[in-house]
């Protein structure tokens, strides 16, 4: 557990958008997927996940719809909107600039 990292505020948006770019997903699945793909390195706290989802929905980048989950229960599925797809690119570019910058700083010092 101790080698898991809480997802930084700000990068979470990118991770969520990127995750549901493939297919609509509900909140729990999004958290699981991020954890899986990052080989359990990243952990998404529910406390940040749901506020983030609602914020993204409010900004119009994702939409939510009720549907049946994999075990046939009612779950809220989130999907990217058109604006959301554009936003993925913007966020990606932003992230790349940030990480490049951080890397440069770390290498020099």
């Amino acid at each position: 557990m101790s080698d898991q990292t809480d997802v930084l505020q700000g990068t979470l948006d990118l991770l969520i958008l990127r995750t549901i770019a493939l297919e609509p997903m509900h909140g729990w699945a999004i958290a699981q997927r991020i954890q899986q793909i990052s080989n359990d390195l990243l952990r998404v706290q529910q406390g940040s996940l749901y506020p983030a989802l609602h914020r993204l929905e409010h900004q119009g980048w994702i939409t939510a719809e009720w549907g049946a989950s994999e075990n046939n229960r009612r779950a809220r599925f989130y999907a990217l909107t058109k604006a959301g797809r554009k936003q993925v690119d913007t966020e990606l570019a932003k992230w790349e600039r940030l990480s490049a910058g951080v890397n440069l700083v770390l290498q020099r010092t």
Partner: protein, 892 residues
């Protein structure tokens, strides 16, 4: 609601997440219970997540508003005393404002139904200084209408004329317009029932028909369709109703008094009450001319065409442009788009000024109420300082607190607005129950409602903000540590004090305004009228309403005069036309005058016995008698003032003058009588413009209408006796006017008296509001100082000393406020005195009363204010001294 659904969605979503988490942990081998506990631990606070999710949405603005409103309402209900006071204060002020605004709205802002108003123009004859005049002659209208290449159609309508008609055996007052047959066509409207009169009915001599106004039809005739085809006697003339005007069209001059009926313009000489109109060779009346522009013609092109016409008219009828005085014509014709004119280009500005003056005055009352609310909120804010600091300490932001306080004040203001609308509605209903000469349609429309709500919101925000900011600017430690002993606020210039001073000052100013109008009423009453008032009674009837022929009518009047003359106690009686001392302004030309200049005089229709009945002393020559018949040369009795002004001599007997518009009307002066005050007032009140002269109705070829009589006994019982005599002759004869001369004179003072009443009410209201404010401030100060007072009392201070220490502060505030108010009042009086006293607006003269600055009056106002102010402060101050010292010390 929407919000509730979102809330349950969120719960369900989180619940789902939790269960999936439990399942996952179970799948990894944990027992159900263990899994559940761990999932919950990982999950953290559900409520917190919910809160954050809600905030993330940003939709919370609405939710916050709802929450704040609920809280605010709860707090206001809790403090119901404060709430009631505040709502009452605001309700009164907003109510007064809404009532006055709906009056202004009805007169000035309500839209008229007119099709395609952009293509409509108003056309006016100019006066000598080039401004649009109200008089356009019928002849000029015909010339304008000939410009068919410019105007598709041109119509003319008179200004609304007051007439009387018989309905259900009672004489009613109405206003009619005489209009051309194409009136409705030019406006692009259609009658709502029946039809409009056509060109054949417009020919002179055709049987007279009328179209009823829609408003009159619904209110007087109860929307009965059978009214079409009925005959109504207007001014005694039988008129057949042929149609009902369009709904939403109230008349050419839309100042709130809807036109009751339209008649063809050729019927005007029969309907007009003014003799000068009846006897004119052609139709001379104040006409409004409106035209619809032909397609593609611009207003500028119309102006050019009318310029040419204007020049031609001067060239063709030069003598018409030589008149001077009120209706003097000037070269040139004005064309204005109808949408730019409300009533008349020259009347619009004074009308707007009057409206803004009214709104300013009630606005002052609102200002008092608002500053009052602010005072109350300040007091409340200070009383809640502890609550505020506790909340701040608990982590509430100042922004949140200000928001809460503002929500409260806006809620208060809205409640006040609703109370105000109810009060205004109730007040206006009370007003409409009174039979006013001018029927204003006071319906509450969207403008009035928007005005009231807007006013409430602005009031709540503007006057809630400063107290809210002040209330939340607290020194946390100081307030929380405080045990009731606070450093006393010794600063003189606090917001609270300034507000109180302002309230008192405005109240004094309003009372000062009241005193100006009261002065005017008193000045009128005190005026030496120069004719008999005591014991004089009058009775006006119109035999045409009963269908008498002219010869029959003459006999009936003579009979009536004989009967009334022989009533016990009657010393003198006379017949005359119109009401005694009511005068018509006429242009005259004096013989022998070098320049044949036209000047103004006032004509009064009298008859034999008139001067004796009214005790108007004859100075030279003789008065009217049997010698003056319709076929004898025209004669006149003139007033002393006219003899000196127009003839330059004291004894003008034998001299001649004529009406300016009738070269054959030479009239010889047979007598000179002493001046009277007539219907107008003396120099100090109104400038005497035209001196009056008298002519005999027998020579005017018209029937008398009125009997006046003077009795040595009670005039009121003479009025009753006269009516009995009238009924004895023929029960069908209508009574138009039956009153004593004293009542008639009282009626003339109605406008200033009404203004005095209105201002007095507003001033009183202001004073009441200001004293509530004073009460609140003192009560608060006493509450805050109760500990100090308790200590002082315990140490042996007498209650007198305590009260006087409080009174000193209050007296200072009231004194400064009164001083400022008196200063403003004197300033207002000086401005009025400096004004020229008369301003010509082209239609009539508005005279301004020039008030005297009466120190006693000002002193009285100051005294009233001081007494009310001190009384307001005394009640809470007195309560302070009744507090038991022990209790005061224990006081939190």
């Amino acid at each position: 609601m929407f919000r509730d659904r979102r809330e349950s969605d969120l719960s369900e979503e989180l619940q789902f997440h939790l269960e999936r988490e439990i399942e996952r942990l179970q799948a990894s081998g944990l027992p159900r219970n263990e899994a559940r506990l761990q999932a919950l631990r990982l999950f953290g606070g559900v409520e917190q997540i919910k809160e954050e999710a809600r905030d993330a949405r940003g939709t919370s603005t609405w939710d916050t508003l709802v929450r704040d409103t609920r809280q605010g309402l709860r707090r206001l209900v809790h403090d119901w005393r404060f709430t009631t006071a505040a709502v009452l204060i605001l309700g009164l002020a907003i109510g007064a404002n809404t009532a006055i605004f709906s009056l202004v709205n009805a007169v000035l802002f309500r839209d008229q139904a007119i099709a395609d108003p952009d293509r409509l123009v108003n056309i006016y004859q100019n006066d000598p200084s080039g401004r649009p005049l109200i008089v356009t002659s019928y002849a000029t209208y015909m010339e304008i209408a000939d410009y068919t290449d410019i105007f598709e159609e041109t119509m003319a309508a008179t200004i609304p004329l007051p007439v009387r008609y018989l309905h259900n055996n009672a004489v009613r007052e109405a206003v009619i317009e005489a209009a051309t047959a194409n009136y409705l066509e030019v406006l692009g409207l259609r009658p709502s029932l029946g039809r409009w009169f056509d060109a054949t009915e417009e020919r002179p001599g055709a049987p007279i028909v009328a179209v009823l106004g829609h408003q009159t039809w619904t209110s007087v005739f109860r929307s009965h369709p059978g009214v079409i085809g009925q005959v109504v006697r207007i001014e005694g003339v039988p008129v057949t109703i042929i149609g009902i005007g369009p709904a939403n069209h109230r008349g050419t001059v839309d100042v709130g008094l809807g036109t009751d009926a339209w008649v063809p313009i050729t019927a005007l000489p029969l309907m007009a009450q003014f003799a000068s109109m009846r006897n004119a060779p052609t139709i001379i009346a104040p006409l409004f001319v409106k035209a619809r522009l032909r397609d593609g013609v611009t207003v500028a092109q119309a102006r050019t065409a009318m310029d040419i016409l204007g020049r031609r008219l001067v060239a063709e009828n030069p003598e018409q442009f030589k008149r001077s005085g009120e209706f003097a014509l000037g070269p040139g014709i004005t064309v204005l788009p109808s949408t730019d004119v409300r009533i008349h280009p020259q009347a619009d500005v004074p009308f707007m000024a009057l409206a803004s003056l009214l709104l300013t005055i009630v606005g002052l009352v609102l200002a008092i109420a608002c500053s009052n609310l602010a005072t109350l909120l300040l007091v409340r804010g200070a009383a809640r300082a502890k609550e505020v600091s506790v909340r701040l300490a608990m982590g509430a932001t100042r922004r949140q607190l200000v928001r809460h306080l503002l929500t409260e004040s806006v809620l208060l203001a809205l409640a006040g607005g609703i109370a105000g609308c109810v009060l205004a509605w109730w007040g206006m209903r009370a007003l409409q129950a009174i039979d006013l000469p001018l029927r204003v349609d006071l319906a509450v429309d969207y403008r009035v409602l928007a005005f009231a709500i807007g006013l409430s919101l602005v009031t709540g925000l503007a006057f809630g903000l400063a107290p809210a900011l002040k209330a939340t600017r607290v020194d946390l430690l100081q307030t929380l540590r405080d045990e009731g002993l606070q450093p006393l606020d010794h600063r003189r210039l606090t917001l609270k004090n300034a507000l109180i001073v302002m309230q008192v000052a405005i109240s004094v100013l309003l009372l000062g305004g009241t005193s100006i109008f009261l002065q005017q009423v008193a000045a009128t009453r005190a005026l030496r009228v120069g004719y008999a008032v005591d014991g004089v009674a009058m009775l006006e009837t119109d035999l045409r309403f009963a269908g008498y022929s002219e010869d029959q009518a003459r006999n009936v009047y003579d009979d009536l005069l004989r009967r009334i003359g022989s009533l016990p106690g009657v010393e003198a009686a006379a017949l005359l036309r119109g009401l005694p001392m009511a005068r018509n302004s006429v242009p005259i030309v004096v013989d022998d005058a070098a320049d044949q200049k036209v000047s103004e005089a006032a004509m009064i229709d009298a008859g034999p016995g008139f001067f004796d009945t009214l005790r108007i002393e004859l100075l030279h020559g003789r008065v009217f008698d049997a010698r003056d018949r319709a076929d004898s040369p025209r004669v006149a009795v003139i007033s002393d003032a006219m003899a000196q002004k127009h003839f330059g001599v004291v004894n003008a007997v034998g001299r001649r003058f004529r009406l300016a518009n009738d070269p054959s009307s030479w009239t010889e002066v047979i007598g000179v009588v002493r001046d009277t005050g007539t219907g107008d007032l003396d120099d100090e009140v109104v400038v005497t413009s035209a001196p009056p002269y008298y002519r005999s109705y027998t020579q005017a070829g018209a029937l008398p209408t009125t009997v006046i009589a003077r009795t040595s006994r009670d005039a009121a019982s003479l009025v009753a006796a006269m009516q009995r005599e009238l009924r004895a002759i023929d029960v069908a004869l209508p009574v138009m006017t039956a009153q004593t001369m004293a009542q008639a004179r009282e009626e003339a003072q109605a406008p200033p008296a009404a203004a005095a009443t209105l201002l007095g009410i507003l001033g009183g209201l202001g004073l009441v509001l200001a004293s509530i404010g004073l009460y609140a401030v003192v009560a608060f100060a006493v509450a805050r100082r109760s500990r100090e007072i308790g200590i002082r009392m315990a140490l042996g201070a007498r209650s007198q000393q305590v009260v006087s220490s409080i009174a000193r502060g209050v007296a200072g505030l009231v004194g400064v406020g009164t001083g400022v108010g008196l200063f403003l009042t004197v300033l207002l009086m000086l401005t009025l005195r400096a004004s020229s006293g008369e301003s010509n607006i082209g239609i009539g003269n508005i005279t301004v009363y020039r008030p005297n600055i009466d120190p006693l009056e000002l002193l009285a106002i100051a005294a009233v204010t001081a007494v009310v102010g001190v009384a307001a402060a005394f009640v809470p101050a007195r309560r302070a001294t009744r507090v038991h010292p022990l209790e005061a010390l224990r006081h939190e």
